[in-house]
């Protein structure tokens, strides 16, 4: 991570007006429901610099998408805003977003921060032409004529690699294939040259060949525009491919965070080990069996006490005094720019990783 984030650990951040481009501090997003409070995000801190990519990894229901929607200010829209409790701070380029008025956030949304959604078919309006939707996104933030905006839309479609952009600009979303639709959505997200791009599972619905194209495209565009990118995914392969930093989420909290190299080569949290062990790998000799994480992801209403991962963790009994079940571990510095929230001692982690986990991967 950055110099700034090296000085702060986990949830304890005190300095105002951070120097990082995007900084999230102790973000909490809770949804009160009839069954209880769903703590989707429960104290999350991270930062992203311009030109860098942060990947947020986790299972479904770990709070990845809720985090991204919180950054985009999309939880407070309409009546649904009444049903969410948000606290913490989100600093984008020196502006605080959690306390900002919806109008302020709206001015930033689309212009300074944009989002690519997982399912382009439902994210685009089926009734409007693709070009018109891009034009609208542009004209909201730029006072230009329709003609100019249209020119810009064609330019963007061309930039994301859609053949015959001048023709396709008048096509409807259903006339585009899955990969093309995802490209069109990237064009829409990038039409205002946003400085922060959030991609929520941008390639999950796509075939590997198209996925490779889209990842390449995102990487190239990032180089060109120098944006900060938050990539939300559950595919560790994609993460290794594209991310500078990785944040592993479990049960609404960060359990491990660090540079991609650190997290992949010296993962420190049993959950990260579990994720790595669950993946069949195409680049290694096939092992006879995968080593899955046993059990089910936790309920976010009744998050397990202590370490949220302890019911599924094979090493929960190693730390003394039953701390795994009673005390919630905080993020601790475990390497250069590498934090992990685990009660296991450094020696135990080292031993388990080198002796038990790494040989099986």
């Amino acid at each position: 991570m950055t110099e700034l984030s090296k000085t702060e650990t986990g949830d304890e951040a005190t300095a105002k007006a951070p120097s990082a481009f995007l900084e999230v501090r102790d973000l909490k997003v809770h949804f009160p429901t009839d069954d209880g409070i769903v703590k989707s995000v429960d104290g999350l801190s991270f930062s992203v610099e311009k030109g860098k990519t942060l990947a947020i990894v986790g299972e479904s229901g770990s709070g990845k998408s809720v985090t991204s929607l919180a950054v985009m200010g999309l939880h407070r829209l309409g009546a649904r805003g009444k049903n969410v409790r948000m606290s913490g701070e989100i600093w984008l380029n020196g502006k605080e977003l959690v306390g900002a008025s919806p109008d302020e956030v709206r001015r930033l949304r689309g212009r300074e921060m944009a989002m690519i959604f997982q399912d382009p078919l439902s994210a685009m309006h089926p009734y409007y032409k693709v070009g018109d939707q891009i034009v609208e996104a542009y004209r909201v933030h730029h006072k230009v004529s329709k003609k100019e905006a249209r020119k810009r839309a064609v330019e963007m479609l061309d930039r994301v690699g859609i053949p015959e952009p001048a023709k396709r600009v008048d096509g409807y979303p259903h006339e585009f294939s899955g990969g093309m639709r995802q490209r069109a959505m990237i064009a829409m997200a990038l039409v205002n040259n946003p400085e922060l791009l959030i991609a929520d599972e941008p390639t999950t619905a796509l075939d590997v060949t198209v996925q490779a194209q889209i990842l390449d495209l995102i990487r190239d565009l990032q180089k060109e525009f120098g944006s900060a990118v938050i990539m939300i995914t559950h595919d560790l392969g994609v993460v290794a491919e594209i991310a500078d930093d990785v944040l592993v989420m479990y049960g609404g909290r960060c359990v491990e965070r660090g540079t991609a190299t650190e997290v992949f080569e010296k993962p420190q949290h049993p959950y990260t080990w579990g994720l790595l062990g669950s993946m069949p790998r195409i680049d290694r000799e096939t092992s006879e069996r995968l080593t899955p994480v046993k059990g089910q992801p936790p309920s976010l209403i009744n998050v397990p006490s202590g370490c949220a991962f302890h019911p599924r963790c094979p090493y929960a009994d190693i730390p003394a005094d039953n701390v795994s079940r009673t005390v919630r571990p905080e993020l601790e510095l475990v390497g250069a720019g590498h934090w992990s929230a685990c009660h296991l001692s450094a020696e135990d982690r080292e031993r388990i990783w080198t002796e038990e986990i790494a040989p099986k991967l």
Partner: protein, 498 residues
């Protein structure tokens, strides 16, 4: 559907069984030249104006106890294939035999006893369980429908099955919504296993699940195979998962199998360019590999429409190795190495098998060494199939002849080339992406190209005779599958390329 059945002509082509495979296990399921076309109807009369060729002539067999993985991009027909081999949908043509019995045209009633032996696991754990039925009634449905009374009663058996797939027997009276995705998939597996099937076709069994849960289900299927001696056909788009679970793997592209090989052979030395591209695109969780971006083969564009697949080799529109022959002649699925069948004119890690190439003969020879001579001399394809083959060959030769003929005029060469290409494509009614250059070529030039190609096809003797000889060689190499052990021996040795 019945109309398409009638139109099907080449269906009965019997490709000799492959018996020289290293694995001599009994063949459980055999699929020959299977096709499934969905008619497109338009107008008041609902006349058929075309067909989505979802599965367009595939051959493979599944041996007892093995796992065959089927991979391909979305829209390549892999799921349709799965539904057709389980007879959930009727095939348009071809033949499916299960344990030696032809099940292609069995009626619903005749199929019913066989349903015990062939079961399916579906992709969507949310859509495949009736939300108004309890788990007990879902898993016991196969017993009810088949009129089977298991030992110790239905309830006891269902609870045993639930335990087998890692659920608690107390879940008997619960409803599907009370379960998570991974647990639902287990319920689907329990239902599929209820009648002790011989063959289980699993369509994307884990793609809707989280990674950690995915691994649990993969391991479960693995264990059950060992315990119950199951045979799987696993359809998936995730190449890493398929590699993990399969013994042999078929790679599909636009309704055809382009490569069929043992797992290790396929992943270590893929021979079809598409397989290679597909595998290079899989992201690997290893940051040290990040610098090696150049290894990746990026395919351009999308999969062409299966309504009008490209002429010749279907992959030529996206293939970096494509040459003229790929646009005109469809490559046959040929056994180039023991246990590795590939449909490509310019395979990776192997000598080209395209007719114009001089290396052809050596390739054919190598291939022929792998199989008994009797097969090669015996033509090995009978009736309509070979006729259709030779006809399309003659056509394609005419086309390539046209191409070379027109390029004889030097100043027109550049414009003529795309023009004649378009002709070739248009003739086979397969032009999803018209060649970019074709718009530039004037009508007159196109007309002359058409004329040339017409005359080429008309005057049979001259160019045909020339083309006949090289064309015969790939056919010889093209049917290395030996017939030993199968009774559908070739009827008459028939020279190819007429």
């Amino acid at each position: 559907m019945s109309e398409t059945k009638k139109t099907d002509t080449a269906a009965k082509a019997a490709v000799p069984e492959q018996a020289s495979a290293p694995d001599e296990r009994e063949v459980l399921l055999k699929v020959e030249n299977l096709t499934k076309h969905f008619p497109i109807k338009k107008g008041i009369l609902r006349r058929q104006v075309g067909a989505v060729k979802a599965v367009d002539g595939i051959d493979f067999e599944v041996r007892k106890g093995e796992t065959l993985g089927v991979v391909g991009e979305s829209g390549c027909g892999k799921s349709t294939m799965g539904r057709v081999i389980t007879r959930l949908q009727d095939p348009t043509g071809g033949k499916i035999s299960f344990e030696g019995q032809d099940i292609t045209r069995l009626s619903t009633g005749e199929m019913r006893p066989l349903r015990r032996d062939i079961q399916m696991i579906f992709q969507d754990p949310y859509g495949s369980l009736n939300p108004r039925h309890t788990i007990g009634s879902i898993v016991s449905a196969p017993f009810r429908l088949q009129g089977v009374e298991p030992e110790g009663g239905v309830k006891k058996e269902v609870q045993r099955l639930l335990e087998l797939v890692g659920l608690s027997p107390e879940h008997y009276n619960r409803y599907p919504h009370e379960f998570s995705g991974g647990q639902r998939q287990r319920i689907g597996i329990a239902r599929a296993l209820a009648l002790k099937p011989k063959l289980v076709v699993a369509d994307e069994p884990v793609s809707a699940l989280d990674v950690s849960i995915q691994a649990q289900v993969v391991n479960l299927m693995d264990d059950l195979q060992e315990e119950l001696g199951l045979t799987y056909v696993i359809i998936a788009h995730d190449l890493s998962v398929v590699r993990h679970v399969s013994d042999r793997i078929a790679v599909m592209y636009l309704g055809k199998i382009v490569e069929l090989a043992d797992r290790n052979a396929l992943y270590e030395a893929p021979m079809h360019p598409y397989t290679k591209a597909l595998m290079s695109a899989v992201p690997v969780p290893d940051t040290t590999r990040r610098g090696q971006k150049s290894e990746r083969i990026l395919l351009r564009g999308d999969v062409p429409s299966p309504i009008a697949p490209p002429s010749g080799c279907r992959f030529h529109t996206r293939c970096w190795k494509a040459t003229e022959i790929c646009r005109t002649t469809e490559p046959q699925l040929v056994e180039l190495k023991p246990g590795q069948r590939v449909a490509c004119h310019h395979p990776e890690n192997f000598a080209d098998q395209a007719p114009q190439d001089t290396v052809l003969l050596s390739a054919a020879k190598e291939a022929s060494e792998l199989v008994p001579d009797t097969v090669l001399s015996g033509g090995s394809q009978d009736g309509t199939g070979s006729e259709a083959d030779s006809r399309s060959e003659a056509e394609s030769e005419a086309k390539s002849e046209a191409a070379t003929g027109t390029s004889a005029e030097p100043e027109q060469e550049q414009e003529q080339e795309p023009g004649s290409k378009t002709e070739a494509v248009a003739e086979s009614e397969a032009a999803p992406e018209p060649e970019a250059g074709s718009e530039g070529a004037s009508d007159k030039e196109q007309a002359s190209a058409a004329e040339e190609s017409g005359s080429g096809a008309g005057s049979a003797s001259g160019p045909e005779a020339e083309a006949a000889e090289p064309a015969s060689s790939p056919e010889a190499a093209g049917d290395p599958e030996p017939v030993s052990g199968s009774d559908d021996a070739p009827k008459s040795p028939k020279p190819k390329g007429e």
